[in-house]
Amino acid sequence: MGVVVKKVDLGWLDRTYVWPVMKGMSITFQHFIRNLFTSTAKRYTIQYPEMKKEIPAGYRGLHELKRFEDGAIKCVACFMCQEACPARCISIEAEEFSDLNITQGFEEKRPARFSIDMLRCIYCGMCEEACPKDAIWLRNDYEVAAYDRLSMKFGKWDLMNTYAEADGKDRISQDTTPTVPRRTIVM
């Protein structure tokens, strides 16, 4: 299929080349003047360390392991996220943690270790999708960097505290024993 290219019929003024050049120069000069009187903070460029982009809702950034009000981890070590992870960056070790059981409205399992290798993670959000307990969220922090490989391996406590400051919560480094039943069991 042939495409008919419409040729622009230039007037004699445009064919001199000097006039179009001057038109172009006026456009660039307008931009120059406009930017000359705009402070750098108000231009299009987001100057990164000082200014940050607004993160849209649903952005998949650094993970957080969610916790209940009393500080107990929501994760029940079901291994769904580990199975779902296409990059195989999650590794979980489960443990049984109390005498309380499911009939009393408590979980019986929790992760003893939960680690994500941030260097392998592709931030696809599959773990978040797979989680039956809404225990792992990918949130808005995108500044994941470190000086060595080992510190890019986030452990359980790193992951539970990733957004502690942002949310105004305490940093925790110890499993608390749950006091309130998580659900009421209808017998």
Binding site: V21, H31, Y44
Partner: protein
Amino acid sequence: MDKLASLLHMTPAIFWMVVKVVIVFSAVMLLASVWTWVERRGSAMIQDRIGPNRAAIFGKIRIIGLAQLLADGIKFFFKEDLVPEEANKGLFWLAPFLAFVPALIGFAVIPFGKDFTSGGVTYHLSVLDPGNGMGLLYPLAIGGMAVYGVLLAAWSSNNKWSILGGMRASAAMVSYEIGMSLAVVSIFMTTGGYDPAEVIKAQGHLPWAWNIVHQPFGFIVFFTCMFAETNRLPFDFAEGESEIVAGFNTEYGSMKFSLLALAEYSHLMTASALVATLYFGGWQVPFVQNPAVMLSVASFLLKMLFFAWVFVWIRWTLPRFRYDQLMHLGWKVMLPLSMANLVFHAWRMSQGH
């Protein structure tokens, strides 16, 4: 001044010469290096960007990106000076100087201010006094020399991209230089001399008596050719990034590269000084019959910097020309136009104007 000269064991004439040389060349080099900053910030503003603003002295004083100059200088100074193994080493070292020196010394004949008399001696504000017998033929000849720097840099680095760039630069020079020279010749003709002081005197202080009004076509031809001469963007065939890597300076790094870059900007300064002298009355201040010396210097600087800015401005407005388009422009447009300009002014002069 005589006292200072005798303290330095120099005759006053030589002392004055040394002062002029130091002032002119250091000013041109300083302006050239500042113009790299102007180019980067100006282009950023034209394109709605911000440009270099991160470099800071002691990590604090940013002075709107001017510290970038220092940072670049220091970086270039400490970089490894690589010379390709197969390069012609002597010429490889020589080429940046051959590019830099002609760009700078073209400025020598251009008067940058009104001459003044002090103690019965007339001081001329140009490195070479008027009546030196070379006049404006000298910057034209030196401008022709400048392509040797590019060509030698290209040839000595023994790289196919470089040699392509150098070949293009020299071929382009042939195609625009004739038109440019003819445009200047018609100025020489109407002035009746080729000394820059005479050219400026003949133009007078009234803006409508300047050569730009009398010879607009000559101006267009000359100014366009200056872009080609300085190897700048619409006509930067010597270093087309999209086609031949970086052209003639592909193999250059460290101080040699910065010298080549500085050569380009010094050339820009010389070219804009030439445009100001030839077509805009040099140091003449509009509507001021007999300007003070400092005023005339300021006027010249203003005109020169304006044209230097136009060089930057046009660079970020126009896309590059194709190689054959410059050939077309040089041979089929510029040459006939400047020829017609010359003939027209010859005819006018024969009619007694």
